[in-house]
């Protein structure tokens, strides 16, 4: 009897887990996402170039990452466009990236992985929102202003 009860509990737990995992996809939005930036997109991180993200204690910098647009929620960005986005101190989880120099950035993304889908609130041009070192492994290979990531959440 005890064994049967345990089995039932296990089956129920697995069922709940299955509903949770197979349920509604994470859109990446949150209550504050729409408060930030003039552009809001869901985009896939194409790659993380070698040397684009490093941790060096004395250097605060932004790195430029390449994204393929999947959906445009606000603002004018061509569908399926490739965009280049600057992330401040990219080795830090987004929720911990803001500091006295760069305020009002955040999100729930903990790291940048090639192929990851992210929902982002963006500003442009980046120069109007960030004055500091920029690591741009795509220099000379893209035209137009880069976007500045204000809020970055993971999405499914």
């Amino acid at each position: 009897m005890r064994i049967q009860t345990s089995k039932l509990a296990l089956v129920a737990a697995l069922g709940l887990f299955s509903v949770s995992c197979g349920g509604k996809a994470n859109s990446g939005t949150d209550a504050r996402m729409s408060d930030y930036g003039t552009v809001e997109v869901t985009a896939r991180l194409v790659e993380v170039p070698t040397g684009a993200i490093f941790h060096r204690e004395l250097y605060n910098y932004a790195t430029i990452l390449k994204y393929q647009i999947v959906a445009v929620h606000r603002g004018k960005v061509p569908d399926n466009a490739i965009i280049y986005v600057g992330h401040y101190n990219p080795w830090k989880p987004r929720a911990e990236a803001a500091d006295s120099r760069v305020k009002n950035i955040g999100g729930d993304s903990r790291q940048f992985r090639a192929g990851q889908l992210q929902r982002m609130a963006l500003e442009t041009p980046m120069d109007d929102f960030f004055m500091g070192g920029i690591v741009d492994k795509y220099f000379g290979r893209h035209t137009g202003p880069a976007y500045w990531a204000v809020r970055t959440n993971d999405a499914d």
């Binding site: 004395l58 109007d128 929102f129 500091g132 070192g133 741009d136 220099f139």
Partner: protein, 350 residues
């Protein structure tokens, strides 16, 4: 040859006396150093930021040989940083930070309040509020300031405090300096494919070009406005865990050629500042990469530019690259940060 030997023997005999005569806290360690001390002693004054005996950063002056070190601010409630003389040496500009604010090696031009004073530190007057006039620097006649903020560059008329011109920042983000001839600015920029590039901007046209790229900082002008002194770190396998040490370099402002000035095994070199006659260079540095303003700083150094390139220490890779480099004559000056040099005598007068 005999004459040189005789001079050397003579200096060898009298250099301790020279040191006493000049009231030096840093005795020469060789006849060559004594000769360089004697050569520069009367060439005006150096102003620099350094910790006082109360633990705050004050501004100090000393003779170029390191003698006559004098605190000219004595403000235990504040930290003072980034002092610069006017071109005639009669005025001084710096940033005043609250005591609890650590000087940031990348942001010092944006920190605190801009202060203008007489070059001996007297009559200090604040100009604006905290954070105003970021990276402000004088023009030749001290009538205008060139400032840089996130919004771009601005030229401010000091008398009216009105902005007379603005132009785009173009990726410049720190350590900007107006050229002596007023036609250019040099600074650290992120718009040339690599962060921490040294770039020059034509103030009339707004055109910007790279002077030297990859991990450069603290650029400053030679008096001719045609050459730039700056720091540059190149990663070298086996040196400082593959990270390398930051070295002092010079380049023509068009970015066509560069030359090593000074490198030292075991210390990053920053804050290069060329003497008003273009013959000597001051610098500072530290084991810590940011110049360590949060701690006690490091001794400044002074050398003849004609002795360059100079390499100190066992950096075999560097010696292989620069086989003609000597060990040079380098004066060790007091602990100091971001020094500035004037040939004027007014800083030392009451």
């Amino acid at each position: 040859m005999n004459r040189r030997l005789n001079l050397s023997l003579f200096l060898s005999a009298i250099y301790p006396l020279l040191a006493v005569c000049h009231g030096q806290s840093y005795a020469a360690e060789s006849p060559d150093e004594a000769a360089l001390q004697a050569e520069v002693h009367s060439k005006g004054w150096i102003v620099f930021s350094s910790r006082s005996d109360r633990g705050d950063y004050d501004l100090f002056i000393c003779r170029p040989d390191g003698s006559a070190r004098t605190n000219i601010t004595r403000t235990p409630e504040f930290n003072e940083a980034w002092p610069r003389y006017s071109s005639d040496g009669t005025k001084l500009m710096y940033r005043r930070l609250h005591r609890d604010q650590t000087i940031d090696g990348n942001r010092y031009g944006e920190q605190g309040i801009l202060v203008m004073a007489q070059s001996n530190g007297s009559q200090p007057k604040t100009f604006g509020d905290d954070g105003d006039y970021p990276w402000a620097g004088w023009n030749q006649d001290c009538s205008q300031l060139l400032c840089m903020s996130q919004k771009g560059f601005s030229i401010v008329d000091i008398a009216s405090r009105k902005i007379v011109r603005t132009f785009p920042r173009q990726g410049f983000f720190q350590q900007t300096t107006w050229s002596p001839d007023g036609k250019w600015l040099v600074g650290v920029a992120n718009s040339f494919g690599t962060s921490w590039s040294i770039a020059r901007l034509n103030i009339a046209s707004g055109a910007a070009t790279a002077v030297n790229t990859i991990d450069c900082c603290t650029p400053d002008w030679f008096p001719d406005s045609a050459n730039v002194i700056f720091s540059w770190r190149t990663a070298v396998e086996g040196i400082n865990n593959g990270y390398g040490w930051t070295q002092l370099w010079r380049a023509d402002a068009e970015g066509k050629s560069n030359r090593l000035v000074y490198a030292e095994e075991g210390r990053h070199i920053y804050g290069g500042h060329v003497s008003p006659d273009g013959k000597y260079v001051l610098f500072t540095g530290n084991v810590q990469e940011d110049g360590d303003p949060g701690s006690s700083g490091a001794p400044m150094g002074l050398m003849r530019l004609s002795d360059a390139p100079v390499i100190r220490g066992k950096n075999t890779e560097l010696r292989a690259r620069f086989p003609n480099a000597g060990t040079g004559t380098v004066l060790t000056l007091p602990l100091g940060w971001e020094p500035c040099w004037t040939f004027s005598e007014t800083p030392g007068k009451p």
